[in-house]
Amino acid sequence: MKGKYYIQSAAAISPQESFSGPFVPQLLTLADKNLLRIKEPDYSGFIPPNNLRRMSRVLKMGLVAALQCLRNSEVSMPGAIITGTGKGSLQDTERFLKNITEYAETALNPTPFIQSTYNSVNGLIAVQQKCTQYNSTFVHRGFSFEHALLDSMMQIAEGNADVVLTGAFEEISDEHFYIKSRIGYWKKALTQPAELLTSRTPGTIAGEGSAFFMLGSKPGNHPLACIEGIKMVYKPTQEKLHAALETFLAQHEITPSDIDLLITGQNGDVNHDHYYHNLIVQYFPATTSLPFKTLCGEYDTASAFALWLATQVIKEQGLKKILIYNNFYGDQHTFLLLSNS
């Protein structure tokens, strides 16, 4: 997918102090688990108390990041609302499933059932903004946010919408953390983000977060960055991955030396680290790289945080070209090319 898609505004809730004020990345300290939880902002300025009482964590973080993104833009009514999530509302899903077993499939609470659906954040945004435009949520594991972004770009390219509110949201629950730890997703020993990339052990640290973007066909008054292209590759060999990168860069008439910053999804997992290592050695030996998962942890839609991070770097440092390369457990690989205008 090629073209120019302007990020007119952005907002993120993450383990970092990312929601308000100038962003200063910090390598956080974990207390007892390989898990980075979000720093929750004060939601009461965004959601009426009567609605807030019913919402689970992911709904609050998703809705409020979206509302902040809308506040940061000059848009009140987007032409579409398109999001991605790998797991949706885990907390509500777990509550609903526990109710089913506890009450033998009778007398089930409606609230966790309603909110456990993947598109409940989208529905809340639409209701809050009274937006009856195109509304869709993509649930494709490590490609969830990428497909939301691709659909947003296509809506703009085909003239269906001038501006699209697009984003992603993910939460981690204690139960889900435990289940994933049983199948080797997380490192066994407590590993601090500062040690993550030198740990040389299997697994990584878990994370969560939400990020939203106002994407437009025009720059708007204060554009943060411009998305020039996206390329997704599913379960490639190293050779196919490199071929995909070469084709992607050639399509945009640039070479690796044109990239000012490479933002990578390196997460210290020895099972999949070779993809990053070999790519950097072969194409970007002299390019500055920024491994974003040391800041936010690993989750299905962590690439949305990477995109938000790229907008902040472009805003603060005025870099011209940024390439994001992320893969999710070696299966879903994405290249995302951004420029400063």
Binding site: T106, L108, P110, T111
Partner: protein, 91 residues
């Protein structure tokens, strides 16, 4: 225990259960008037809350409300809910 005392105890318990079931933060049982409307201007509950209250009746008191029209009358206030519960209790 006198019938009036039983009724008062039931209403207090019901208020506590409503607060917990609906996560009514910053609301105490004494803040809820027995006869105040639960929906609209009173506690300001909505249609999803009404379903939650039906679940509360079924789980806590083993009472299933089959007729939605009956539900409207039962869920008018804490008083009406308590009276309904009491009417369904074995003599």
């Amino acid at each position: 225990m006198k019938p009036t005392t039983i009724m008062e105890a039931l209403k207090l318990k019901l208020k506590q259960q409503i607060i917990e079931a609906l996560n009514l933060q910053d609301t105490r049982p004494e803040d809820i008037d027995d006869n105040a409307a639960l929906f609209g201007e009173g506690l300001g509950l909505d249609s999803i809350d009404s379903l939650e209250l039906m679940v509360l009746l079924e789980r806590q008191y083993k009472i299933k409300v089959e007729d939605p029209r009956e539900g409207r009358k039962i869920l008018q206030s804490v008083q009406s809910m308590a009276e309904f519960i009491q009417s369904k209790q074995p003599a």
